[in-house]
């Protein structure tokens, strides 16, 4: 009798190991690591999606904010988590493209250590210049920049920030040279811009919205490929510089060896959620657009982003 029980137990274990214990995923709460502080745009949007995932899968999707190291700490933790589908991470352009490129050792490999599940959102930047600088459109600005190399100051929150990368891309595509100034936060950049102490910035759409009607500042363009819904009066920079596109994107990742059927299941659910009106409206209010890329396409997207930024970084030589 005991022998039978033992055999049954052993068989069950063997079968579950072989099938990856994912027969009835998800059975318990799933942890979603957000490597940034609560309240930020990424976090707010992630929480929105997590809530909808809960409704879909009938288990809680719990957000865990693990901040530190510009997002590296949380990402590292996720990379080392068991690949059973119960740990996910919200990766962004910072964690999965820029940090590994700009830092000597981020502690993980964005491609090898992760399975790309789905895209989430894309938060573009807006080109703002102080009114007293002169130019009223992108073309005028490019001309002025070409005539004054190294004399126009742009503000960012540090090398690797979306504002910085947008400016790097801009300089690379237009052949201009701008001068970089760092600030503690997007709010400080706005203040400096309004006070006339700073010439220009590529600030995120969310941070820029209050300034759109302020006479001290001129809004020249958005960095998304098309004009943003809700901000149709602002031209896309791609209208002047063909092919110009960048955005602070975010997506869901899982540890590399997570079973493919779990990845697919998640991917499908997220696509549905992203196509909901409510999600789109929330994203729009936060100056972003949804990025409904299913697993395979998202994987390609991440690879292409890696290459794009590797080129830009090599060009501007900001490696340290």
């Amino acid at each position: 009798m005991r022998f039978l029980k033992a055999t049954a137990l052993a068989l069950t274990i063997a079968i579950s190991v072989v099938t990856g214990v994912s027969a009835a995923w998800p059975e318990r709460p799933v942890t979603v690591i957000v490597p940034f502080s609560a309240g930020g745009t990424t976090d707010v949007l992630a929480r929105l999606v997590a809530e909808k995932l809960r409704a879909h899968f009938k288990v809680p999707f719990l957000i865990e904010n693990r901040t530190g190291g510009s997002g590296n700490i949380g990402t590292q933790v996720a990379a080392q988590a068991p690949a059973d589908g119960y740990t996910l991470v919200v990766g962004t352009i910072s964690t999965h493209s820029l940090n590994p490129l700009l830092m000597k050792d981020a502690g993980f490999d964005p491609i090898k250590d992760f399975a790309a599940v789905s895209g989430l959102f894309d938060i573009p930047n807006i080109l703002l210049v102080k009114a007293s600088l002169g130019p009223t459109d992108v073309k005028g600005f490019i001309d002025q920049a070409k005539q004054n190399p190294g004399k126009i100051f742009f503000g960012t929150t540090g090398a690797g920030s979306s504002q910085f990368m947008a400016a790097q891309l801009f300089q690379a595509r237009t052949g201009t040279k701008l001068k970089h100034v760092t600030f503690k936060g997007a709010g400080d950049i706005m203040t400096a811009l309004l006070g006339g102490h700073l010439d220009m910035a590529f600030n995120s759409a969310v941070a820029s919205m209050p300034l759109l009607s302020n006479p001290s500042v001129k809004v020249l363009g958005v960095t998304s490929a098309q004009r943003l819904p809700g901000l149709e009066q602002v031209p896309a920079i791609s209208e002047t510089i063909p092919g110009f596109q960048m955005g602070s994107w975010a997506g869901v990742f899982a540890p590399a060896s997570t079973p493919p059927d779990i990845v697919q299941s998640l991917s499908d659910a997220v696509q549905t959620i992203l196509n909901e009106l409510e999600t789109k409206a929330a994203a729009e209010r936060l100056g972003s657009v949804t990025l409904p890329l299913p697993a395979a396409k998202f994987k390609d997207f991440v690879s292409s982003e890696q290459k794009k930024w590797a080129d830009i970084v090599a060009q501007s030589d900001s490696q340290q």
């Binding site: 203040t191 302020n214 900001s318 340290q320």
Partner: protein
């Protein structure tokens, strides 16, 4: 203007009808939300480690279910409620929860040790209320010109302002001035730990990835003050209660209130003015107030040993600053601090774009919020005054049971910073440092000041130089910056001259020396 204020009042006292078992129940939702915010804020202010930013970010998603006005009222309540709570912790257990409470610790806790905790808490509450009223008035009357003034502050001006702050810090020293200078410099050095923002280079992190974002203020403050204080008390020959209650009424006497009146007025003005400046303003207010009070007092020797003006002034300053820090967000739409950014996020998610348009497009929101600030302050006063009696009773718990509790709450609070046990260990390390500092006759307060101002100084200094393309003269070419530099050095000189005449420095040091020679 009165119309607007009336509008704000009506918004606050608005009643929503809830359906409960078929009965329509009138509920003054916004008042209740304000109360909730104030209570939560006070609680997290008292609990070490957890700050208003962390709490607001945790509670932010919960407010999505509320409408914009309600969400903002509650979140703002949390913010200035935390100021009140922070003072309580500073006075009772010598833990500065926020930068703005650091100064309160100095004289506030001394008063507590002398059995005047109730008086300190009471004056802090009263002073904060007066300052809050003043701050709200400033917002109503002077928002526009003040925000314009704030905009004229560029990196060079900030740099000079912070330099003034650093020089003022010398005045904070109760004892030997050179020793205080050492502490400030040490604080500045500690502020350098972390990844350099401009180049991304790691400084003084010794390979610890966790230190890449720098040392968290709460970790430093809790370790150096709260935990070190526990260690020092345990070391003391007496094993009894450290903070005692004085017989009779725990509240401040009329005499004490009269003495503090001037400090409160001056503190409100200073704090309110400095609070408008995005970024560093809020931190400087209390320090400036303390320096001013010490400077104009007839017997400055009392400062550091329980001078009530040393609590009244800075408390008024930090609360006035908390109110006026809303101005840049309300008038320009620019969030001056991380917390404001969260509030802006709350507004944006609900579809309200912050900025000058809010006044015209959503007047109920704008004026409702402003009036709720005053209502909140009134509520906090009403809540906190009776609480004083409770706190004083709480002090009668034997210390042997109290201090482990303080440690537990601190540890959990510290853990919540970045969800990391490293914060706890680091704080323990700083506690050892704080303990040793006291034994060797050094004051820990200037370290915190140096820490906060050091980082700000470096950022603005480098920024100013980049923007001027390396021209050092930019600091004296710009009139506002020049004025600030001149004032700071003048004040420093005056301070040094008069104190050497009064020989205050040395005799204080003498006393402090004796206390720790065991």
């Amino acid at each position: 203007m009165w119309d607007n204020l009336l509008l704000g009042l009506s918004v606050n006292f608005q009643i929503s009808w809830f359906d409960l078992f078929g009965f329509a129940i009138p509920v003054p939702t916004y008042i209740l939300l304000c109360l909730a915010g104030c209570l939560i804020g006070t609680l997290i202010g008292v609990l070490p480690g957890l700050g208003p930013v962390a709490t607001v970010s945790i509670l932010l998603p919960l407010t999505f279910g509320l409408d914009v006005v309600g969400a903002l009222i509650m979140l703002s309540g949390i913010y200035y409620g935390a100021q009140y709570g922070g003072s309580t912790a500073a006075i009772l257990v010598r833990i500065p929860g926020e930068v703005t409470s650091v100064v309160t610790v100095i004289d506030g806790h001394e008063m507590a040790r002398q059995g005047r905790a109730g008086a300190a808490l009471g004056i802090a509450a009263i002073g904060s209320f007066v300052a809050g009223t003043f701050g709200t008035l400033v917002i109503v009357l002077f928002s526009a010109p003040l925000s314009q003034m704030a905009l004229t502050f560029g990196p060079a001006e900030y740099c000079s302002l912070i330099l003034m702050g650093l020089l003022l810090a010398v005045v904070l020293a109760q004892g030997s001035i050179p020793k205080a200078v050492v502490m400030i410099v040490l604080g500045v050095l500690l502020s350098c730990v972390g990844r350099d923002q401009e180049t991304g280079a790691e400084r003084l992190t010794f390979g610890f990835q966790i230190l890449a974002d720098g040392i968290d203020f709460s970790v430093l403050a809790l370790g150096l003050f709260g935990i070190a204080e526990v260690m020092r008390n345990l070391d003391g020959a007496e094993g009894g209660d450290k903070v005692i209650a004085r017989p009779g009424s725990p509240y401040p006497t009329w005499q004490e209130i009269k003495e503090s009146a001037g400090a409160i007025v001056r503190g409100s003005a200073l704090g309110g003015l400095l609070g408008v400046l995005p970024g560093s303003g809020g931190a400087l207010g209390p320090f400036a107030s303390y320096a001013v009070e010490k400077r104009i007092a007839k017997d400055p020797g009392r400062f550091g040993h329980g001078a009530i003006q040393g609590v009244a002034g800075p408390e008024a300053a930090n609360n006035a600053g908390a109110q006026t820090s809303f101005i840049p967000m309300l008038t320009l739409g620019v969030p001056p601090t991380a917390l404001m950014a969260l509030l802006v996020g709350a507004m944006t998610v609900q579809g309200v774009v912050p900025g000058p348009q809010v006044m015209t497009r959503n007047p109920e929101l704008f004026w409702g919020l402003i009036v709720s600030m005053w209502v909140g302050n009134a509520m906090l006063l009403i809540i906190n005054l009776p609480l004083i009696g409770l706190w004083v009773k709480f002090l009668s718990v034997p210390y042997r049971l109290l201090f482990p509790g303080v440690l537990v709450v601190s540890a959990v609070g510290l853990f919540s910073i970045g969800n990391s046990e490293f914060s706890v260990i680091l704080a323990a390390l700083f506690a050892v440092v704080g303990y040793l500092l006291a034994k060797f006759g050094f004051e820990p307060a200037p370290i915190l000041l140096g820490f906060v101002l050091g980082g700000l100084f470096e950022d603005n200094f480098r920024r100013a130089l980049v923007l001027s393309s390396g021209d050092l003269l930019t600091f004296v070419e710009r009139p506002l910056s020049l004025a600030l530099i001149v004032i700071s050095f003048a004040a420093l000189l005056l301070g040094l001259i008069s104190s050497s005449r009064r020989k205050v420095i040395f005799s204080d040091d003498q006393q402090k020396d004796e206390m720790w020679r065991m």
